[in-house]
Symmetry: C2
Subunit: 492 residues, 2 copies
Amino acid sequence: MGIFQRFARLPLKPLCIWSLCPQYSTAFTVGRGLIVRSSQLIQHRYVHSRGLGASPGNLGAAPPRLPFSRVTQEDLAFFKTLLPERTITDPDLLKSCNVDWLKTVEGNSEVLLRPKTTEEVSQILRYCNERNLAVCPQGGNTGLVGGSVPVFDEIILSTSLMNQVITFDNISGILTCQAGCVLENLSNYLEERDFIMPLDLGAKGSCHIGGNVSTNAGGLRLLRYGSLRGTVLGLEVVLADGRVLNCLATLRKDNTGYDLKQLFIGSEGTLGVITAVSILCPRKPRAVNVAFLGCSSFQQLLETFQCCRGMLGEILSAFEFLDASCMSLLKKHLKLTNPITELKILFHTQALWSLRERITEALTHEGYTYKYDISLPVEKIYDLVQDMRGHLGGMAKNVVGYGHVGDGNLHLNITSPSKDPVLLAAIEPYVYEWTSEWKGSISAEHGLGLKKRNYIYYSKPSEAVALMGSIKAMLDPKGILNPYKTLPDHIH
Amino acid sequence: MGIFQRFARLPLKPLCIWSLCPQYSTAFTVGRGLIVRSSQLIQHRYVHSRGLGASPGNLGAAPPRLPFSRVTQEDLAFFKTLLPERTITDPDLLKSCNVDWLKTVEGNSEVLLRPKTTEEVSQILRYCNERNLAVCPQGGNTGLVGGSVPVFDEIILSTSLMNQVITFDNISGILTCQAGCVLENLSNYLEERDFIMPLDLGAKGSCHIGGNVSTNAGGLRLLRYGSLRGTVLGLEVVLADGRVLNCLATLRKDNTGYDLKQLFIGSEGTLGVITAVSILCPRKPRAVNVAFLGCSSFQQLLETFQCCRGMLGEILSAFEFLDASCMSLLKKHLKLTNPITELKILFHTQALWSLRERITEALTHEGYTYKYDISLPVEKIYDLVQDMRGHLGGMAKNVVGYGHVGDGNLHLNITSPSKDPVLLAAIEPYVYEWTSEWKGSISAEHGLGLKKRNYIYYSKPSEAVALMGSIKAMLDPKGILNPYKTLPDHIH
């Protein structure tokens, strides 16, 4: 097929990759020569038929503040008695918790609470619910949709001090830990014991496992180990009124009643605060094989994927891609080298992965980035990038595509020197309509958070959204948990 | 380790099994010499601490009929207009739908409805909800906990004529079909297209995919392909009031709002009637390898499991076991031969699997069987069988154990010449208390249905059961859907 390829030097096995190794293989493919052609402007032909009333350009903006109570001196006194030294009101310390990692959304909370135990979380929520005080649960604050920072003055409830491993069973591979454990710390803990986490993502150095579960994070190993809906075996959750729901089972199978933990996976802290997680961890692979291939078209990349999938079956851990525009940005901003063109340079496994993992970072140097996280039938994912280039013409600085081919998940990123309402109006709702037309998801793995809440109808029918509203009302009748997030404004 | 072994003759590859074949291996282990010793009687030391009030022996029996309406001539006229020829009132035809496969539970419904479309299901439920008529959804009626037959005069809503494949995408492997498709028919349909279903179970010739999803069936491939919570990508469900909830997505990743389909997976038809399913199907393995091993103790069996798991990783599809007592019953009632002792006989792959799959059938010839489906930490599963033998002494005809070692899932079966209340009182709540003591599940994969509904507190805390009750009340306020099932009596 004329594919250019580079293999990482392998610590355990030499170049026997793509073969019958039963433990781990990672395919990692770079599009090359996907030149932007001046493809014809695609007409704005999609009809937005799902009943959104507001003007499309403003749907991601903050709604008016809801009538929650404001934090009083009496409230602060209560929190300081409950959490001495861990009730933070210093504006300098609060600053980084009020703004998201992308610096695109900023709240003005005046209180940060740092509980260490489930009982403390329970007491905080019971109090806030009685007082009608809104709460924004926060893990590592690495989300991309404005879901983990306050919109107004919500109290920030951080899991950063809930960072203890509770148990690990090295026969079953079941880990039980507090929600604030950093993903990379858990990975290191497990690797020492010959296991790995079933998920991995670029933000691993900061993100918390509780946040991963709350957002149903996908990431780089989903292809092999499946979604958190299968690997999370149990959760402990504190409900809005402070009740503790202990579903911290450590069993692979349990059909006794409704599987309540599923309600809290992916609901972005709007239904309860996850305080502990049980998760099934696979054995550490005995060998890791990484190949970096250069394809001359996306069609060739798809053929390569089909071929690898056929040969490797379930042991294929990841099949990622980035396009030539991503590679240019990695070179320009981070001085990273293209392994396909620079054949004389030796690349280690981690260096190859860095190319994929640091794209988000490279994009932050471009100015402002409009980020989209789209699921589509896999054969369609790159059409969206190319259509968008044609549609935007010279309006955008860059239109780049990368993501998880194996999951049909495209990360479409559009950059601009600064925030640009005209550009935004050209992107949205075009991108959502395009996705809806192909029955895709407008948020494959990032969630809806603040930014995408009002776009939910592009991927879910109105009956489903109404039922989500009923579930929210049942579990959090005062709506204090992460308000303005996930559900569209008319539900709140 | 001194393990006796037999390999099936392999159609595609000769005896290279347990090795680096990347596609499929099935380990299948038979306990041998697990002789029943007169182990000391274990004291009834478990305290039933979760607040069940009623006398333990009666908790599986039918509760009083709830005040639903009774079917009138006007109701029949409505159904006959909606479903001419498919509204069944002939008592002979109704007989087999009123009784479960095990013939342990029998209702007396006078109406069987056989819709072909989602719209018909919607009209039926809208009518029944308005009229306050109770409905028992029924698939292949192969359940083991009395969940799929009426308790009193509930209308039986059968999916047997909803048996059409809607779409199959042979790139992604995503199948979308009506709920009444028989699992084996779907398997055959897929095999012709070089794919397989991600689940397989002994009842495959009769069970419906809708019933599989409604009961979150586990079965023989869970170890490799994961649970239905990961492989089911979308559902269409008719709610109690007739509203159709179309969540029939065909995407591997979709984080747009709460994952509503999870509510209907495993809720045994008590929250809605599943009418269509989208499911992710793996490629057909290029080789199937089956080994049948004889171990001299359960400890040796566990060591074998650990060893296979380490060598084979995720390509191990199943690791099943049966004990020597099961093998005796297979020989006695079905004339099946032990492959470990009869070394001169050639066994084909399917013959080896039949031994495992026909245990349930062999047990039916024993008289009456008390069946338990328990999840425990894997190293504990056979202790329960041995403890139970000691506990029951000569009261039971047979105490046998088999199941899914890889999932920590034991099928404990206790036989008796006929129904025996004294024996039952010796088994329950002992078996549930034993399980609860080890934080196991009292129903790993069979569900709770009618028989186990009141035992839910052994595996779920009261806050969780209360929340399940709230969900039921939200989705089915009149309680017409599969009443008397899944949730304990005080919730209904």
